[in-house]
Subunit: 157 residues, 2 copies
DNA sequence: GCTTGCCTTCGAGTGCACTCTAAGGCTTAG
DNA sequence: CTAAGCCTTAGAGTGCACTCGAAGGCAAGC
């Protein structure tokens, strides 16, 4: 558990975590859920915790990304499992994975162990997409820095 | 001119250009336009060169991001200026700057030198946005790598 | 008992950035 | 002469990912 967190930090640092203040992205940047969380959360609490809107949470449920139970009053009750799922989905969204791909992945998980290779392939493809995105962003950043430092402020490339 | 290109490379490298094959992003990653380009290009040539669709180019013109001349037949003629502008816009889009912000910037440029500080501020704000985006992507990448390496393939966070 | 404030559903609406369609014009090749 | 293959316009359509609205349920506080 703590080892997992350490490994995460390690991986994260190996990609040059910058010196900017690390914005709180809700739970999305922790690997294990905090142990002191209540076992059953309301939709508002999950939204706050994970950093997405309640609207988005309901939407995720509607399109089948998460299953969430209900209490006697018909209100959603997020248990540990549901919270895990939400955090997972939020992470993938954070890296711009299209909802459709996330849905596909979730579907594969629901289909059972036979789909493991396909899931892995999906993740690896997404990893490659993130790498490309990073590359482009870094290039853009370099251009913008060039523009800022040399100054000028015109519209030339 | 060559010094400028060198400086760009330098900046780019200072952000750890990864070892992935650098995708051809049209002209968007070069600082100076190649000298051997024809002085007047058709919309299709610009689209090919810059890596955006002709539809997008027309759209950019329609919303006022670029001004483009016409030939006798009413066809668009992109001169050096227009091409510069397009490359500039494409670069900003590449880093996910919203069209509205780009339009604002272009508008400031058209307004003249008095707007220079505001333009600089806009660029700096955008730079900060890119840094945040990079940060999030790196974090997401770390999580995904963790998932891929430890394997498992489930939906837990 | 009523207001406040959270929650519910379903369906419709929004914003962004294109993307495409329809109807037509010019130019060159066969 | 005509067909191919570019281009033009205005306006409508698309896909994504939410986001909101309307109408109503339930529980706590005044």
């Amino acid at each position: 558990m703590t080892a997992a967190v350490e490994r995460l930090r390690e991986l994260e640092n190996s990609y040059e975590t910058p010196d900017l203040p690390s914005l709180s992205d809700g739970l999305v940047r922790t690997l294990d859920l905090p142990a002191n969380l209540p076992a059953r959360l309301t939709i508002a609490q999950v939204a706050e915790l994970v950093g997405v809107s309640v609207h988005a949470l309901r939407y995720y449920e509607r399109i089948g990304l998460v299953e969430v139970g209900r209490d006697a009053a018909g209100h959603r009750v997020y248990d540990r499992d549901a919270l895990s799922r939400v955090v997972f989905v939020a992470r993938l969204r954070m890296s711009d994975m299209p909802i459709q791909d996330i849905a596909r992945y979730v579907d594969l998980v629901n289909r059972g162990d036979a789909t493991v290779p396909e899931r892995l392939a999906l993740m690896q493809a997404h990893r490659a997409a993130i790498m490309r995105r990073l590359q482009k962003l870094r290039a853009a950043l370099a251009v913008i820095d060039y523009k800022i430092t040399t100054y000028g402020g015109d519209c030339s490339p």
